[in-house]
């Protein structure tokens, strides 16, 4: 037993110690085996552990240590060589692994430490990002506030609301202590405190506009920090506290008159208001950049909103003004209409009322003239008659003139004999001329057409008036009346540049010149001649009476006939020439308005006026057919009767001189017949004359008849005289 190196227990009494060592080893082994298990367990749980193989190494190291301690349990008692060998193996392995682990840890621990630094670094970064996020959020909120502010400002067009809202919202967004708006006064030399946030009724502080601090603010479009002590910022009563920072910004006010389409206003003509914002006085707040930007943006928006409000105010005012004017105009128009109506009524009544006694006077005086009278009585009666004739003429003139002025007078067009008109005028004035011992001559040009279309009565009235004036104002000498067709060169008169005569095929211009050798007219009186009621003041004219209306009426008539009238005179005592040109129509067979409703002038024909005249009568109505036939037979015609349009077209031949067609029968179209007859007979001398019988006298029927080529229209029921005159007129053509 000397070769065994195991230590024999020397002290059997130290069995206790041995027992404790035994137990401790056992527990150590247990612990050493359970630690890796725990490690494995927890590492499995955590997904992110980059050093697994380190763990394995560690685990191996611990297991082996445990194994060593476990095996050493057997060495406390007598043990075999195997146990010793195992013990040695395990110790060797343990040594190897632990050295390897130790070496490896040298590599790993710096890495692990650096992980820690990185973690710290990331934490710092996260904190920083948080801070920045906070900042961005603040900015975004500010942006939202701006948008909301803008929306509030632009949602109203009332200027006060805009400004009020601006201040309130700004105050809220930026948590201001005070916010004020200074507007320039009318004179532009001062700024007046107009709106404040906290003080309800701002006192009318004014501050001169040319302070350096104000100029500084106005010259820049940015918000400018100003000193709390400057006059515009002294809005609060001075307190113990340190006043907060104050910022001022300009608000451009666009003046309406600055709006020009092509030229936008220059900066120098702009007016500005001043907005002053004060931070709370006892906070240590400073103006941040984003807050300043907010203020600038708001100021711009306010400017735009204010200009819109101004435009709206202006246009509302203009519209109200226009409405008022409209109402006034309407009222004036209605009053004018009432006045015209009243005048017309008055005239109509007065006309009748005035004419009736007038006629009585004239009639009775003429009757009186026929009776036995003493010379003085006769003189008196003649004077009465003359005066009442004058008065009657005056009444007629006045009525005519007022009707002419209204435009309610219309010419009564008809075909008439032009030569006859002149002859009649001549015959009327010949006696008066011979009494005054004046020579009157009438020259009618040979190319003057015999018949013309126009208003015969009014033309005669005009000629009579002009010639009558010539007579009135001439005491001696001669009067010559010339009439001819005016050619285009002579139509234009330099004195009437607005008169543009247009010659055409259906019309001609009649020019009448009345030259007298009377008292003449001075050149300055000539324009007054045609104004009504105006008379020249020369003594010669005052005795000749007259209302002064005659020429005015003539001028109106001539104008209605699309013509022109004027007077030439070389001066007082040198006589004068009255010239007028009127437009008259040329009567043609087919063109121009024929005379459908010929007045009932009974010609001096006998009962058999038209012997053997072949007439075709088309009428559906048996009774009226018979009556028409009876009429025509009485006049000596040879009548053929048909009762339908087909029959009519069948029977009609060039032997029939006249075809009478009833056009007011529904169904049978008399107009058709006219067209067909035109088609059937192309040569004019072969075609019979077509006359329509109708019960309608309106213009539409007349025009329709003209359009289809009828030669005349007769109104039913037809009288003998009417038939006779129509037929004779037709056949004369």
């Amino acid at each position: 037993m000397e070769s065994c190196y195991c230590i024999e227990p020397q002290w059997p009494a130290d069995e206790l110690l041995m027992k404790y060592q035994y137990i401790s080893d056992f527990f150590i082994a247990l612990a050493y085996f359970s630690i890796p298990l725990e490690l494995i367990y927890f590492v499995k749980k955590s997904a992110v552990f980059p050093y697994k193989w380190v763990l394995v190494q560690f685990g191996a190291f611990i297991v082996l240590c445990g194994a060593t301690h476990l095996i050493s349990l057997w060495t406390f008692t007598m043990h075999t060589r195997t146990v010793a060998v195992v013990m040695t193996t395990s110790k060797v392995l343990t040594a190897v692994v632990s050295c390897a682990t130790a070496l490896m840890l040298v590599h790993i621990i710096p890495d692990l430490l650096s992980v820690k630094t990185r973690e710290l670094f990331l934490k710092n970064k996260a904190a920083e990002l948080d801070r920045e996020m906070g900042l961005i959020r603040t900015q975004e909120e500010t942006g939202r506030h701006v948008r909301m502010l803008t929306h509030e400002i632009r949602s109203t067009l009332d200027r006060h609301t805009i400004l009020r809202t601006t201040l309130v919202e700004l105050g809220r967004t930026l948590a201001l202590e005070e916010c004020a708006l200074w507007m320039p006064t009318r004179t532009g030399l001062e700024l007046q405190l107009s709106y404040t946030l906290r003080q309800q009724n701002p006192v009318g502080y004014t501050v001169p506009i040319h302070l350096p601090v104000i100029n500084q603010v106005f010259s820049s479009s940015r918000a400018v920090k100003i000193s709390p002590n400057c006059p515009v910022a002294r809005l609060r009563p001075a307190g113990k506290y340190m006043p907060g920072e104050v910022v001022a910004v300009r608000v451009p006010l666009l003046h309406l008159s600055n709006f020009q389409i092509n030229a936008w206003p220059e900066l120098s003509t702009k007016r500005y208001a001043l907005m002053v914002l004060m931070l709370p006085s006892d906070s240590a707040r400073q103006w941040h950049v984003h807050e300043l930007e907010l203020v600038e943006v708001v100021a711009d928006q306010v400017a735009v909103a204010l200009s819109h409000a101004a435009i709206l105010e202006e246009s509302t005012r203009a519209r109200d003004l226009l409405m008022e004017q409209n109402v006034a105009l309407d009222l004036a128009r209605r009053e004018a209409e009432t006045a015209i109506r009243a005048r017309n009524d008055f005239l109509a009544v007065m006309n009748h009322e005035m004419r009736t006694p007038m006629h009585a006077i004239i009639a009775l005086s003429s009757l009186l003239q026929e009776t036995e009278l003493t010379p003085e009585q006769r003189l008196m009666v003649e004077t009465i008659l003359k005066s009442s004739n004058l008065l009657a003429t005056l009444i007629n003139d006045v009525l005519d003139l007022s009707r002419l002025e209204d435009g309610s007078l219309q010419l009564e067009l008809g075909t008439f004999n032009l030569y006859a008109v002149f002859r009649e005028v001549f015959n009327l004035i010949k006696p008066i001329a011979s009494v005054k011992k004046l020579n009157v001559s009438l020259n009618l040009a040979p190319d003057l057409p015999e018949y013309a279309i126009g208003d015969e009565k009014r033309l005669m009235q005009t000629i009579l008036n002009v010639v009558g004036n010539a007579l009135k104002f001439s005491k001696e000498g001669s009067i010559s009346v010339t009439a001819f067709v005016a050619k285009s060169e002579s139509l234009r008169d330099p004195r009437a540049p607005e008169f543009f005569p247009v010659p055409s095929d259906n019309h001609f211009y009649l020019r009448v010149q009345v030259k007298d050798s009377g008292s003449g007219i001075s050149p300055q009186d000539i324009p007054k001649l045609f104004t009504k009621f105006a008379q020249t003041q020369s003594t010669a004219t005052r005795n000749s009476g007259g209302s002064g209306l005659g020429l005015a009426i003539c001028k109106r008539f001539v104008n209605l006939m699309e013509g022109h009238i004027w007077i030439e005179s070389e001066g007082l005592g040198k006589g004068c020439t009255a010239i007028f040109i009127v437009k008259l129509g040329i009567p043609e067979r087919l063109n121009g308005p024929r005379l459908p409703f010929i007045p009932e002038v009974s010609t001096s024909h006998g009962p058999t006026a038209f012997p053997g005249l072949k007439v075709l009568v088309m009428d559906e109505n048996g009774v009226s057919r018979m009556v028409t036939k009876g009429l025509l037979v009485h006049l000596g015609c040879d009548v053929t009767m048909v009762s339908s349009s087909d029959e009519c077209l069948h029977v009609v031949s060039h032997e029939h001189k006249v075809v009478l067609v009833d056009v007011c029968v529904p169904g049978i179209n008399g107009y058709e017949i006219a067209i067909r007859i035109h088609e059937k007979f192309t040569k004019r001398y072969e075609r019979p004359l077509i006359v329509a019988l109708t019960g309608n006298t309106d213009k539409v029927t007349k025009e329709k008849c003209m359009r289809v080529g009828m030669d005349g229209v007769i109104l039913k029921p037809v009288s003998l005289d009417k038939m006779r005159s129509v037929l004779s007129d037709l056949l004369e053509q």
Binding site: E620, N621, V627, G667, K716, P717, L720
Partner: protein, 153 residues
Amino acid sequence: MDIANQLQRQFMDYSTSLHREGFVDDQFTQLQKLQDENSPDFVVEVASLFFEDCEKLINNMARALEQQQGVDFKQVDASVHQLKGSSSSIGAMRVKNVCIAFRSFCEAQNREGCLRCLQQVTHEYSLLKNKLQTLFRLEKQILAAGGSIPIVE
């Protein structure tokens, strides 16, 4: 001659009364003027034609207006138009005036109004027929007595 004069005076009074009461108007006078040696019975012929026409038209209108299933107003209107034409040709003033009113009822398609007018027309027509027949009888009597029919202006 006395009888003739008496008859003539009677004729003239009667004629004047016809005019005054509006049974006939100037057109009738025109017709009378047309009567001469060549056509001695002109007025009687026209009058008989008128009466025939009238009766025919009145019957047409009565039949058309009695239709229960929708009255053909166009047809009635055409008849009234004819009647109006005839009556104005002969100078039957009252008949013509009723025709004018009748036409407006036709245009308004008023059956009640049309029936009333038809009644009126019939009434006027029979009155006129009686009066004219009396007038013509007087004329015949005058001619038989050897007188001539006076012209009433």
